[in-house]
């Protein structure tokens, strides 16, 4: 204990001569450009695949019919309705969106008296942030639903020009697994869905050639991941 310990606390008084640090107008403070705020959905771009509903760990998203949008080939006619009483703003729905139609604005203030209004369909129920340019958008080079389509091999033009041999060579087992893994099981017809359905309907005997059957996994499809040790000791991560 010293004289300094008695006098030093009084230096706090210097703050009397400082400007306030509080935000002058907090209600109109703009959020950061990447802010994860209320959702936006481009309903013309959306195909209603329901992948956002599948990945939402809070069960905040329901796919609902929308007036004016008909079911057609490649479009379920449904659009995501989000319950903001459940949403935790994690943006996995934005990351997983197959058409990148679902994004988040940087709007975070919205006042209504009726709690039911906080369950709405972005892009259909008009909101003031619908045209906001800023907010969280999934980078175009990042996908959490598998990588790009495995290219199917074909015969070279020189070979097939005077031949009746099947031009398209099909997938190998490994390529088929990768391609099937990209399927999000949306129910809408596409080439990947056909591969996935064929893989799921096949039996272990038909999935793997007899010569490779002994070494091939017999369980359901597994993503192509690097081999890992069965048990790991504590590590530094």
């Amino acid at each position: 204990m010293s004289v300094r310990d008695v006098l030093s606390p009084f230096t706090a008084w210097k703050n009397l001569f400082r400007d306030p640090v509080s935000i002058p107008d907090p209600l109109n403070r703009a959020a950061a450009p990447r802010y994860r705020g209320f959702h936006q959905n481009d309903v013309e771009k959306c195909i209603g695949c329901g992948t956002c509903e599948t990945i939402c760990q809070n069960g905040a998203i329901d796919m609902v019919p929308v007036e004016g949008i008909e079911t057609k080939s490649g479009d379920s006619g449904l659009r995501p309705r989000i319950d903001y009483g459940r949403c935790c703003w994690c943006a996995l729905c934005v990351d997983v969106c197959m058409t990148k139609s679902l994004t988040m604005s940087n709007a975070y203030t919205w006042v209504e008296n009726d709690p039911d209004l906080f369950c709405f369909t972005p892009g259909v129920d008009k909101k003031h942030w619908d045209n906001a340019e800023l907010g969280y958008h999934c980078p175009t080079d990042r996908r959490i639903t598998g990588q790009v389509r495995a290219h199917m091999r074909e015969l070279e033009p020189e070979t097939r020009i005077d031949s009746f041999v099947e031009i398209v060579q099909g997938y190998s087992v490994e390529e088929a697994i990768l391609e099937a893994d990209r399927c999000v099981a949306c129910g809408l017809p596409c080439a990947t869905a056909i591969t996935s359905a064929a893989w799921n309907c096949s039996t272990p005997a038909t999935r793997f050639p007899a010569s490779a059957a002994a070494s091939a996994p017999t369980s359901a499809r597994t993503p192509a991941l690097p081999a890992t040790k069965a048990t790991r000791s504590p590590s530094a991560g």
């Binding site: 992948t51 990042r142 993503p223 504590p234 991560g237």
Partner: protein, 392 residues
């Protein structure tokens, strides 16, 4: 503590089984609940005190006010769906949950996060550490009546929350560290704004040093009080600043370097007196070290390159059978995730090792005996505990 007397005649005798013989009907003792709604408690927990006069003769920690069953919830969610949950296990410093969970998943699935992502992770972890310490300093001072310190540190923390917001898109639950990497890189002009924030924090810390650490009242009530015996460190699993204030340089960042800490220059901050004052001072100096680490990270980190590894489809992601434990040094001590997988798309078992569990339960119950009621809050805050870690 201030009224401590060596006269033990007023204290209850011990029974054969080691418990205290407390006869409440005698009128000599009183049950006093501190918490769960009490300004002198760290978050939503409570301490059941048995007092004799002003002196505590027994204390029991009670939790359960926050229980949401995170570990169990994760057993019914896919690996990517667990990612938004884990940050809620520690509100003031959520990033260690995100990092430890991601590192455990990567370890078992054999995925290597890119180097740039590791630098980003180290940056966000150090930013979170500063935030946590700022909140602590306000709480520690507030527990002893120095309310103005909390206002200053809240201002400094708010500036850091602005940096979090522009970097991650959220202020509190950042949800930025995905398994495999991070969500995004640094925004334009981030370095300059971060430097301004760090300077403001350093300025605030100078004021805190003058008003809190050179303060006769604060010293009178903290120097020599709430001492953790170095012999208890291993017995109770004490880690972090609580251990370093006792002179033991335990720091996972140095002992088992993770992410990019091998490439950073730092020495664990230690103290020797192991009392409340020393623990506060160790955290203050550790905060300033984190400021220096952030400057080092921003100077050394690569500005281009992938931010996330090539990942399988997260919707069908199955991780082979295995188990792992990963750890990191958070602001309270060693944070660890024990993860068991069984080859399915869901974790078989997740166990979160939060340092608050040991500090706020076993250690606090031992240290709280024989202190004055008015010092309970200061002692509890000095252990720097966050209740959600206790009841995951």
């Amino acid at each position: 503590m201030a009224l401590y007397t060596p006269d033990r005649s007023q204290y209850p005798a011990k029974k054969a089984d080691g418990t205290l013989d407390i006869d409440l009907a005698s009128g000599k003792y009183l049950k006093l609940w501190q918490g769960p709604n009490h300004p002198g408690i760290t978050g939503n927990m409570s301490v059941e005190l048995t007092v004799c006069g002003d002196e505590v003769v027994e204390g029991k920690t009670h939790v359960g006010y926050l229980h949401r069953g995170f570990e169990k919830l994760m057993e019914r969610r896919s690996f990517i769906q667990c990612f938004p949950i884990v940050c809620r296990i520690c509100v003031p410093e959520p990033d260690f949950n995100e990092y430890c969970y991601a590192a455990a998943v990567e370890d078992l699935s054999g995925i290597q996060s890119p180097e740039r992502a590791n630098w980003m992770r180290a940056l966000i972890l150090e930013m979170g550490r500063i935030n946590s310490y700022l909140m602590y300093l306000g709480g520690q001072a507030g527990a002893l009546g120095l309310g103005v310190i909390g206002q200053w540190t809240t201002y400094a923390r708010d500036l850091m929350l602005d940096r979090f917001e522009e970097m991650t898109g959220a202020r509190i639950y950042h949800m930025f560290i995905l398994p495999g990497g991070v969500r995004d890189g640094l925004p334009d002009g981030f370095d300059q704004r971060m430097e301004e924030t760090l300077r403001e924090i350093e300025s605030t810390m100078k004021d805190v040093h003058d008003v809190m650490f050179h303060n006769a009242v604060f010293k009178k009530r903290t120097v020599g009080q709430g001492v953790i015996d170095p012999a208890w460190l291993d017995q109770y699993g004490v880690t972090g600043p609580n251990a370093r204030a006792a002179g033991v340089a335990k720091d996972v960042r140095r002992d088992q370097p993770y992410l990019v800490y091998r490439e950073l220059e730092f020495e664990p901050v230690i103290g020797h007196d192991s009392d409340i004052y020393t623990r506060s001072d160790v955290r203050r100096r550790d905060l300033l070290m984190s400021v220096d680490l952030i400057r080092q990270i921003l100077a050394k980190m690569p500005r281009s390159g992938p931010l996330i590894a090539d990942m399988p489809s997260m919707l069908h992601w199955k991780i082979p059978r295995g188990e792992t434990y990963v750890r990191g040094e958070c602001s309270r001590g060693e944070y660890g995730y024990y993860l068991v997988t069984d080859g399915s798309g869901f974790p078989r078992r997740v166990n979160v090792r939060g340092p608050s569990y040991t500090h706020a339960m076993a250690l606090l119950e031992r240290m709280i005996v024989n202190i004055n009621i008015s010092d309970v809050a200061a002692l509890m805050v000095s252990l720097h505990t966050y209740p959600p870690e206790i009841e995951r």
